[in-house]
Symmetry: D2
Subunit: 409 residues, 4 copies
């Protein structure tokens, strides 16, 4: 381990420094699979609203690993035993938990790679890396899948207070410049403990949880579901679907080889073999945005317009309400667009559509946040007097939106 002794440091505007704790971690970060995350934006098209939001999945993965280092130090201080081997496996698991993300992955998964989800692909990547690294990732993979014997390990990777969430809320808030969503991740972590092999939060951390859940709620409404990002994402989905439709119908579209592959082929978990993974590993934001830039000059009116709207940030109008929009209103709007531009109704519905968004800051069932009270008992947070207000955050809130062109396309 003498190389790591050099204490490789990465500058991070949020935590100051991120230290690479082990040479194996260093080699994983160097791998092209992981370097690729440098070219995948964490927040997709949100930069069209928040000009600072250009941070990447690469940076987030490192940040989550940093928080894992904090968490392990705190838990060991509280006499929770974690072996050196387990420690390393936890670092690997958190570092690679999101490695399966593609570019604009929410849009991609709703369009050209519908049969795939990024968790499954993360698993594929980890297996491939485990082969390459002679089985050194085996324990990490079992933690990632929730199969490792110690339950709280999985909760640190994937749960209501996992370190993924602790990093991305903080990081997204930071880069978007929306301080309402800033969570004090390091403080929260210092309140963690383990009880009966489950992750719990000490009672004195209860207001930090309250703030965390409120911040999460606000981040959803103000940032992740911001109406302008929402339109942009919907346009991206429609552009990619349209492109796939055109390609399948025989039209030639420019684009990188990797993108061409996914436009031509339907992929799902079953046919996603090693060679598909290799192609997927070449796909990043640059393929998508470069294609859209080019497609602005395509013959197809729908693809051309959708691409232009995204690239020049000349988006559709959007309205948001707590009730559904009337179907007739939308239909008449579609009709007028289809007439105006000689489109079929189906084509026109790329420019006039509705949908719903939903936000639930906290899921109290199953995997609720457990508080370790000063009297030694454990209690789910919404059941504690003086925190009954959190029950409200456990109720999902649904809103409806409608998009349509401004005066003219």
């Amino acid at each position: 381990m003498d190389k790591a002794r050099k204490l490789t440091l990465l500058n991070d505007p949020i935590y100051g420094f991120i230290t690479i704790p082990d040479p194996l971690i260093f080699r994983l970060i160097q791998h092209p699979y992981f370097q690729r995350l440098r070219r995948i934006s964490q927040m997709g098209l949100s930069y069209l609203v928040f000009p600072g939001a250009h941070h990447t999945r690469f940076h987030h993965a490192l940040g989550s690993m940093y928080l894992m280092q904090k968490a392990i130090r705190i838990l060991r201080f509280k006499d929770i035993e974690i072996s050196d081997k387990e420690e390393l496996a936890l670092y690997i698991a958190i570092l690679l938990h999101d490695i399966g993300h593609g570019p604009f992955s929410h849009a991609m998964e709703s369009s050209i790679v519908e049969g795939l989800n990024h968790e499954a692909i993360s698993g594929h990547f980890m297996n491939a890396l485990n082969d390459e690294f002679n089985g050194e990732l085996t324990m990490a993979i079992s933690i990632f899948k929730g199969e490792y014997k110690r339950k709280f390990f999985f909760q640190l990777i994937s749960g209501q207070l996992d370190l993924d969430r602790a990093d991305y809320l903080k990081r997204d808030s930071f880069y978007s410049g929306v301080p309402e969503g800033n969570v004090n991740s390091e403080r929260l972590i210092s309140m963690l403990n383990v009880y009966n092999d489950e992750l719990v939060v000490e009672e004195k951390g209860i207001y930090s949880i309250e703030k965390f859940l409120t911040a999460r709620r606000l981040m959803y409404w103000q940032v992740y579901l911001h109406k302008t990002s929402l339109v942009a994402e919907q346009l991206m989905i429609r552009a990619l679907k349209r492109a796939k439709l055109l390609v399948k119908s025989g039209v030639y579209l420019s684009g990188s080889k990797a993108l061409q592959y996914f436009l031509k082929n339907d992929t799902d978990a079953r046919n996603f073999d090693g060679s598909a993974l290799e192609i997927y590993a070449k796909l990043d934001d640059y393929d998508i945005i470069s294609a859209l830039k080019d497609w602005q000059y395509q013959d197809d009116f729908v693809l051309k317009e959708l691409s232009r709207m995204i690239i020049n940030r000349d988006l559709l109008k959007i309205k948001i309400k707590s009730k559904k929009f009337k179907s007739e209103k939308i239909q008449s709007h579609i009709l007028s667009i289809s007439e105006q531009f000689s489109l079929t109704k189906e084509e026109a519905s790329n420019f006039v559509f509705q949908g719903e968004i939903s936000n639930q800051a906290y899921e109290s069932k199953n995997d609720g946040i457990q508080i370790l009270m000063e009297n030694g008992k454990v209690c789910e947070i919404t059941k504690i007097a003086n925190h009954l207000n959190l029950k409200v955050l456990a109720k999902p809130v649904t809103m409806f939106y409608m998009c349509h062109p401004k005066s003219k396309l």
Copy 2:
């Protein structure tokens, strides 16, 4: 001006909010020429060293305009008259001062668009916009060119304490996570004043200047001239030059139409007409990085290797010294590479080369920083007792570097 009364706000992690002060500014920001800056990174390849450094020229231009708003408010408070028309012109001038930047512009200007520089192209863009906006940019252009009657206007746009610099040092420090370079731009601005139509700094701001110049020096050595960024940029220059050479010799290379144009044609200030500008306006980071990704699979060994090194961040080794490297050492290195990979010496010199870097934090001659002393006199800063140490910062420091492959390519 009633639209602006809605107070359009942009979230900025650094200043909190950036306000759009006028509808004309809003329309300029909406223009595709300006939206394009969203796709041009402010710090080029520096993100390979500083994973947070993904902020764009779009964001920087807005930040500079924010500081201009501050500066105008402060100067007016100090009874310097600035008319509403002049105010608007100053906003336009600072907003557009960098609009001519292309992707990785330092690398581009040293390779495929050698005859052009971004200041000249900024001028071309402004003229084109002025035509489109019916002459509303005329005063802004005259400020930008240094032709406007009030000298300190130009100093606010381009000088040792201009608002461009005040924003980028702060912003680059912030996003790269290198707090050594953090300058207190807002504090500095509050110390500005005007004397004999020249920008001066009030005496109580003298330590802020000292900190500013020190921070600037540190940003150069720690960030802008960071050895890893330096290698990456040198590889980029060589990759682009190689690509141009190949294209000119008849080899087909993939790449966007805009990029193809600049690989095929030599451009300079004279032949840079409207249609060249239109093509240039389509070029951004996505064209370059997408091309490099593709060129990794090219036949040409040199282009392939250079591209792969950048994309996978598998760069050359670099050494930095205060003295020149011996020519024989470099020649023998080149020879061994040329033999190992059957390259000509010229080709091999893409992988073994030396160069120099220089850093001068402050230029005391001509346009030195003038301090308005409490006794009413004005004095150039390095001449003030107790600040003689700043003289050192006015001396350029030169260092030499040499790059070569690690053990093997």
Copy 3:
């Protein structure tokens, strides 16, 4: 106003700088009445829990004035007319709104100056200053009393979103190091507007309000009502009451002349004339703490012990519950203390006692927060779909505490 043109700046860790906007303001700040606030801690004994919480009422008053400058600038930008004279009056009113605070004023008002409250005394101070400054404070006083014709002026000084609150929540959070309570005051202010002469918040600011109210709730539970601060304050009240009792029964106690005066005399609003004001103006934290330090060596067991506990931070134990403590339990505790130390039951009840605390983050009735919707209508915030959760914050939460000695006194 040429002196102010020098732009007097005060360094503030929170806002960067605070500017003195007018020579009259400068002279008010220089006045011994106002300088006295430098010696009155904003958060009383909270520093026993939060070692950074030593900021003063002087600093808070300046901070509130800073926010008023922001608010006026924003409102004028939105075409709300505010004359220069009104502007100055608003600065004076916010600057002096808390000038009547004495040292540890919540404890004082519950012990030795029971008949007085700081708002009334602020009025007395302002009147005295108005005499000294030849009526220049007249409009400010009428704003402070809610008598000025423009209703929103009073709301800026005293309301659910006044600038007093906007500063103290932020400042107390900052200095105590409890980021859960950090509110984005400057952002909130940028969302303010005026509608029908009432202060309203624009719809896009609605999440900022939600965060503001949550932060306020958390500050109450985590800081203002922190159990250790609570004990310390209760001990302070009991020490001061005991001292007054002793003095009235003829015992000599050391202490400054000003403190002696208030121990000897009962004051209330009616007998609070100019000479009482003059004595009150000499009283600050130094009088109280110096007396407690000395009283540690008094003969009276009760006063001695209470003083020692505060000075050495060797406080009573405290328990907090959502239900009342049983009276018998407390009585038996008192009995045992009175026997152990040969005290009367009344004396012993200084060491064993219960009480209640209550927290209501938002008061929706009467002066609720009004939102200016994008459709032009105004709506009280808890009535807006998607913000119904705020209703919970409008319900007061009451908790009960009991204090008693650790093993031994």
Copy 4:
């Protein structure tokens, strides 16, 4: 050690949390000797210029201990062995290194306790505590005195890069709101290493050192030697000296018993026995400021005026130059004051005086900062090419000041 397992946390605005690493540390903090530091301001009268600068020596001592925890973790990571016993001793040594400070100690040491300095008194306190804690502080005391076998231990407590300095520069900058002095202590610490039993800084930390030294220089000129603080401190020295003179000549002055003791008696290192220490331990800011408040109404003109000036912040004028003031000028000024107020010349010289201040950011001799170069050699920092500018910071700069009344006293 099971109590500490509860992980006692103190909120700190700068570091987030400070953890108490051991029950012995907890008991030392609880001791009245240490609690007393809560009542001693870190920056004396600087709050008259920087209204936020009310932080205490208590807080600074905790902050230094926090940084020691960081330093030990980093050094152990780099394979420097530090035993658990040594670790605890280092915490104690840094925690108590400043415990000997009295109120306004620079002023006190120049007036009423001339024979004493705070380092010596720190030693007295530690010895007394060591008796009380049965020798548990023995190793800490030997480190504090520089007698412990491992040289770098002492350098961590007292050297050019010690953790005392690393905390106070950062903390003073933070609370005074002067960001020019902000040093990145945590970054600096991560660059520390040990070579031949001496503390060294790794080469990549060299710019952090440069920033550290520049920040230190700026803190001296902008804050510690700020002209207004300087006057206030000089007035404090003169007030205390005058009080002592009066008391020795038989005048009765009000004041706490502890203060009275030091006004009546001359103390020096030899006669500073246990009972003097006990009295000294009762002295804090409250004794001094309360006395000054009272002395405003004394008969003696000199004491009365000096006290009033400090309390009401109505200070003398001050001028600063790079050359000495002419003696005649001062003498004639003194003469005029002595006539105007019927004072002796000696008395008048309390209101008209000159002095000098000096600032040397870095002391390169003896204990210079050693850089561990990447080639494995160690080199004093000013000898490294590209950092020759630091030589300037090693030169002391001396300035001269003169104080005198404004128009009238």
